[in-house]
């Protein structure tokens, strides 16, 4: 595995794109969850726009941090894209499953946006 240090000119790009990876990831997760929770399908494309922003940020980070110069780091870039995409889906399924169990246990949901009735 090769670790090729970031060029001085790319410092800011690395910091900024790395921050944007996390922030766009959060916006993607936020819009994804809100769209499903409130059953507002029109928000879902915006969630995927945020994910697109995340992909651009990951690509920019990978370029600036010389990650594409090595197979291991290229693999990590792929894993990041996959992980950030899949994680909100997985957590949503877990949320629905745990609250479904709550309904089975006889606890009544108390608001109209009750997610236990929402299917992914």
């Amino acid at each position: 595995m090769i670790v090729e240090p970031v060029a001085l000119a790319n410092f800011f790009t690395v910091f900024f794109s790395a921050a944007m990876v996390i922030l766009t990831g959060a916006v993607y997760a936020l819009l994804f969850a809100y769209s499903r929770l409130r059953q507002r399908a029109r928000l879902m494309p915006l969630a995927y726009v945020a994910y697109l922003g995340l992909s651009v940020s990951v690509y920019t980070l990978a370029q600036a941090a010389n990650l594409f110069n090595d197979t291991f780091w290229t693999f990590i870039v792929g894993l990041m894209l996959l992980g950030y995409f899949a994680a909100p889906h997985v957590v949503w399924h877990l949320c629905v499953a745990t609250h479904d169990q709550e309904s089975v246990d006889g606890h009544k949901p108390h608001d109209e946006g009750n997610p236990s009735f929402i299917r992914p």
Binding site: V6, V14, L67, W73, L94, E102
Partner: protein
Amino acid sequence: MSALGIISNANLNGGQKLAVKYFTVSLALFGAQVLFGLLAGIQYLNPDFLFGILDFSVNRMVHINAMVVWLLFGFIGSVYWLLEDESGTPVVGLGLGNLNFWIFTLAVVVVVLVYLLIQVGPGELKSIWLINEGREYIEAPRWADIGIVVCVLIFFFNVAATFMKGRFTGIAGVLVLDLVALAGLYLAGMWYTPNISMDQHWWWWVIHLWVEATWEVLVGCLMAYGLIKTMGVRRKIVETWLYIEVALMFGSGILGLGHHYFWIGTPEYWLTIGGFFSALEPIPLVAMVVHAVFDAGYHKLKSSNTPALAWIIGQAFGNFFGAGVWGFMHTLPQINLYTHGTQWTASHGHLAFFGAYVTMILAFFYLAIQKWRGNVWMGSNLVGSWKWKWSMFLLWTGMIAMTMALLISGYEQSQIERAIGGSDWVAYFAAQEHPWFVQGMVWRMIGGWTFAAGFVLLAWDLMTIGKRETRPALVVDAESH
């Protein structure tokens, strides 16, 4: 139970009486952390300030050690706070727990006095045992190290024996296992070796694993209890998510240790391990945004204790930005080569510790004061609520200002000292004297004073909140449904 709004120990169970003692010392040490941080900050701008009387190295050491200890006192207090409530039985060995508190507090006072009275001298085996062990952040002498482990073991006995006797909940199971690690991992910090790489290898077990594994799990348990108490979230859901969180944390957090092993002379495979986990560690944090939105939509944030809930919400944001965004910005080895140990690290450290841990302990302070005053109303339109709102605002504003200022200084340092100057002695001073670095330190000082004002207001608020309230608390506890 005494009248509403009046502080009385009659309102508390045995474990909670012990908890408020821990909270009181914790708050005092928080104040010490702020005070010594201010002194160290002034010395960055005026190096002659208190030179030879109270040196920068000592102020910085007390600033950081006070933080570690006040958070530890806060965590221990928080666990005693929930212990009887959670187990449904009085604390086993409460007398021993009380004795432990006084010994622990006395030991902390002695350690700090020794730090202040013996600031310079030869470093030898005797000084390791009696004065200062010399390891950054865990400078406490060996006798105090052993004392900390013994105190944590007594604390463990109280917790484990109480849960064994009473109700052994999911929160209890995670907590008990975590306390074993809390005591055990600290032993790694006492390993003496003349090999600096090996020394650093074990040192990180305390600095990283203690903080990013055992403390995070502890906060997960406190958060679980806090959500049941403030929002009435069902126990089954909270505990399921606690297990998921612990699995994610141990899955990514333990080997996330690798990003500290990049430059200390450990084998090259740590670059692979550290790089892998550094890149993927924030994913669970980001994914948890989904859970936060889900739960916020489900419970509509109705709360029995608004200040506590506000700090719990602050914990979610602070942890996300401090640990997630600020960590990931400089964690890959390709950039960490230049940022490691600069003010970048200080920027990340300030926001991450405040966001992840301070917020949670402050939430417990507010839970405690509510019950101490006879379970008084602390919902919306609380009498005198401006104090907790302003203290929260000032603490957050001060912390964000310090974080941004240190970020600018660290950015300059990583360029001038590391990338251009090649990290030699001349480059170090060139970076320290650069206007961007100095201006960053000036703004950090302004942030520090703002934070200090927030602390004073917080202390005042904790002494007075609920005093003029006559309404009983809103009941939202799920288990009372």
